[in-house]
Symmetry: C2
Subunit: 142 residues, 2 copies
Amino acid sequence: MMEPRISLVTLGVRSLRRSVRFYRDVLGWTTNYAEGDPIAFYQLNGMVLGLFGHEALAKDARVSPRRRGFRGVTLAHNVRSRRAVDEVFVQIRRGGGTIVKPPEVAEWGGYSGYFADPDGHLWEVAHNPGWKLDKRGAVVLP
Amino acid sequence: MMEPRISLVTLGVRSLRRSVRFYRDVLGWTTNYAEGDPIAFYQLNGMVLGLFGHEALAKDARVSPRRRGFRGVTLAHNVRSRRAVDEVFVQIRRGGGTIVKPPEVAEWGGYSGYFADPDGHLWEVAHNPGWKLDKRGAVVLP
């Protein structure tokens, strides 16, 4: 079964520099973002906040980037293996859920897919070999 | 300063019953939701997932419920006192952030306000006397 966990909340942004300034300089949160990076991560309470281009985020989830259809937010649930990703999708398929992007090998070296909840909120289920999960399943950024 | 933390992710939904079924029966997550409740909470990894009517959620944040303007998602950052809520809003105002709803006493017995990030993603900052924060600031549902 899919454990009750959000590993990553990713917000689609129009200007990564502008948003990094807001979260880093106004809120005061730490990021390892460096000029030119395509994405910015912030270590939060056992989970991660990501900032990523609106269009790029929509493309990753394989949905239309039009504001109307895509809310610019994805929620991610990370697991410990590729097999565990597949298992979640079996569970979703069995329950009649909507699979948006079946799991596949990702450019960033992991394995992930997306499903939608009844209102179209997007959940990514991912195995990222570069991100460790602690005993409770919380993400710890490298 | 606002600590790096998301306490609650709330998803706006069209039918609470339908969504509770999905998260409870398809994903298998535990909720204390009872028929007729206006909102459903799920205890996750030191944070909470909330399901709430799309219109009601927009109203709470004091934004238009039209799909186009409102993404149907809010992120909440809970703190330990009303004063701490006010302090965050001073920080946001000082940084030139957009205050959507200045903090006020809420019907549910707490104190909260909303600000928007540069792309309009909504953050609620709240003190909820009924929700305890552990040492690390993670929410533990009663």
